[in-house]
């Protein structure tokens, strides 16, 4: 079994938790439906967003240069990082030059992807994630389980216990308001003490050289208003051509992500604040190789709203950690194998191919088809588990010979009918662990047809 299947089975084994996780995410999917329904132009917006992104990806190099030039003109300094290591080194270099010891970060999946926190901590720099959910998982010393709702797998009782332990809140407290207030007070101290603020980037505008960060807690504003140094890390796919395109994406993002008409804060940054410094790190880390791939290019359209995770019946029931990657769920199962197919090659199989992700995606990525294409790629690269490949070879051998198919079918049905139950439902029968097999009929359709239909 794949690592995902094992981890997912463990998650499912705690039935009430898995059901609760499923319900929590379905609730958000339902909120998204309501919000999407409230816009008669929803499908038009999706089409528009998809077109803008396809245009962007076709002109990515030029748009990035334009952004670089305009951002510099506004007084920002732009850095280019080929991979995670360069990204981490650039940011550490900036912090070290200024002897920064304490950093606040607003949620950025890119810095998660690059492993920035442990890297900086190894160099003696304290990093505090200031998004509440992200901070909770940081306190628990684990990774986010969802790209938008990083702590969705944790119950409020567990947050109460964690805060009691780490912040000294009242034992047994579960009131979200009380717990959030305690977090707010502690984070405020972190904001005040920070010497640098790191943010992600939701949208970078080539035409202006500015960028937008979306948060619901205003932590990007707080984290960049007090310290003199602001470092923004962005994947190169975050670029959009014009300021006029922004409205399309902001309208889709909040609604798709959490079922809000728009995120509470859409903070615009155009150059450094007076007296401050702004550095923008443009990160490739495998993105340009995705751009070069006809099959998977569209995955770069992703605006990280997480709607595909919320709608995915597998993600909802197996939890984000079961995927073992920073970006989990349908989109993660496309971009992670692109980074390391040998390690993440089983993820495209952690999917029932229901297609809900493709239809929910606000930028129209054909996710389930890309997952299917990945499976072909995994086999082509010889990375499919040998047992599975052998099984498919045998099936193909039988199914391309009508006589053998008929004989094998008859033999299987007979075997099922005459074998004792303990033999049929042995440990090896994964289907039969929780389900009955179909009751084998005496005759196949074919045999019935030959007897009853011919000459009718």
């Amino acid at each position: 079994m794949s690592a995902h299947a094992v981890a997912a089975a463990e998650f499912v084994a705690n039935g009430s938790r898995a059901a609760w996780h499923d319900q929590a995410l379905w609730f958000i999917r339902a909120k998204r439906d309501n919000q999407a329904r409230s816009l008669p132009e929803w499908e038009h917006l999706r089409e528009l967003a998809s077109q803008v992104k396809l245009h962007t990806m076709s002109n990515l190099a030029g748009l990035l240069e334009q952004f670089d030039e305009n951002a510099r003109r506004l007084g920002a300094r732009v850095h280019w990082a080929r991979d995670a290591a360069e990204h981490n080194a650039i940011i550490h270099g900036l912090l070290a030059e200024r002897s920064v010891r304490r950093v606040v970060k607003s949620k950025s999946m890119l810095t998660e992807e690059c492993g920035l926190n442990p890297y900086l901590e190894r160099h003696g720099i304290e990093v505090t994630d200031t998004d509440l959910g992200e901070w909770i998982v940081q306190l628990r010393d684990e990774a986010p389980s969802h790209i938008v709702l990083p702590a969705i797998h944790i119950k409020k009782e567990e947050v109460g216990a964690l805060f009691h332990d780490r912040l000294g809140t009242a034992a047994g407290a579960t009131d979200p308001k009380y717990l959030a207030e305690a977090a707010r007070q502690r984070l405020r101290q972190k904001f005040l003490a920070a010497e640098a603020g790191i943010t992600g980037v939701n949208f970078a505008i080539a035409e202006t050289g500015g960028f937008v960060v979306c948060t619901n807690e205003g932590n990007a504003d707080l984290g960049t208003s007090l310290p003199p140094l602001h470092i923004a890390a962005m994947g190169i796919e975050k670029i959009i051509p014009r300021a006029a395109d922004l409205g399309v994406f902001l309208r889709l993002l909040g609604r798709s992500a959490t079922g809000q008409p728009i995120t509470a804060y859409s903070s615009h940054f155009h150059g450094p604040r007076p007296g401050g410094e702004l550095h923008i790190v443009l990160v490739d880390n495998g993105r340009s190789s995705l751009l070069g791939s006809e099959d998977f290019r569209r995955s770069l359209n992703c605006i990280r709203c997480g709607a595909c995770l919320n709608t995915c019946p597998v993600f909802r029931r197996s939890g984000g950690h079961s995927y073992g990657v920073t970006v989990a769920g349908p989109i993660g199962s496309i971009i992670n194998p692109a980074r390391d197919a040998a390690e993440h090659g089983s993820l495209p199989y952690a999917c029932s191919l229901c297609g809900s992700c493709s239809d929910v995606c606000p930028v129209k990525i054909d996710l389930h088809n890309q997952l299917l294409t990945w499976r072909r790629e995994i086999v082509a690269r010889g990375l499919l588990a040998p047992a599975k490949r052998t099984m498919m070879r045998a099936a193909s051998f039988v199914l391309r010979r009508s006589w053998l198919y008929r004989a094998a079918g008859a033999a299987a049905r007979t075997a099922l009918r005459i074998s004792p139950r303990w033999l049929v439902y042995s440990r090896l029968n994964l289907w039969g662990r929780q389900r009955e097999l179909p009751e084998p009929p005496a005759k196949s359709f074919r045999a019935w047809y030959d007897e009853h239909q011919e000459g009718r």
Binding site: A8, V12, T311, R375, R401, L430, W431, K443
Partner: protein, 263 residues
Amino acid sequence: MRIGLFIPCYVDQFYPRVGAATLRLLERFAPRLATQPWQSVEIVYPREQTCCGQPMANAGCVEEAKPVAERFLAAFRACDYVVGPSGSCVAMVRKHYHGLIADEAARAQLEAKTFELCEFLVDVAQVDEIAGNFAHRVGLHQSCHGLRELDLGRGSERMLPAFNKVRQLVAGLDGIELTDLDRPDECCGFGGTFAVFEEAVSCMMGRDRVADHRRHGAEVLASADMSCLMHLGGLIRRDGEPLRVMHVAELLCEAMGLRIDVD
């Protein structure tokens, strides 16, 4: 005119009644395709067919799927239509034969003439509403591939006018009461080999589907896709749930009084 009966491998082996019901419905409604009094509409069952190749293709095993897909093409070459009682298998032929069939033109032809049973009845045979009697509370389970790949209905994710071809066929039956669902079109968790290799998640998905139907008082769980029903039915029997599982073709035959003489 020649209509080729496409009976997917697992239906052939395990659900001959569904195959027979499909045949009876086609015998009943296909004659109306004749545009001239002297035109004959023949329903044939090509014996060379085995499987559409979906298990291999979905595993990514293109080389293993190719000869099976080519066999399918050859089996139905002489037919004007190909009709089968499984949204998923039909979606395989219609949407995923690219790269499996060498002759591009032949593939395009096959795609254009292949239909899922309900889709064929509604779109090709122009059946509006079927007269019959089925006095039960029925929950319709949408097959994902029927819904999102064949457009048999409108998925809840899309913000476009709603329709549902399967529902349309059964809604007019006397006495039938179609129940609603909290999650109208969530996947049942079958997903081919997914049901085996991700067994835990697959079964939880299936149980959640069954519970949604039971919560809304369904007595019969019906679907246009036998593969979903093989999975859901397996859970229902293991758990002793008082739900009857029926393919829509069987339901329609029973409602119309068409005999399916399979023992």
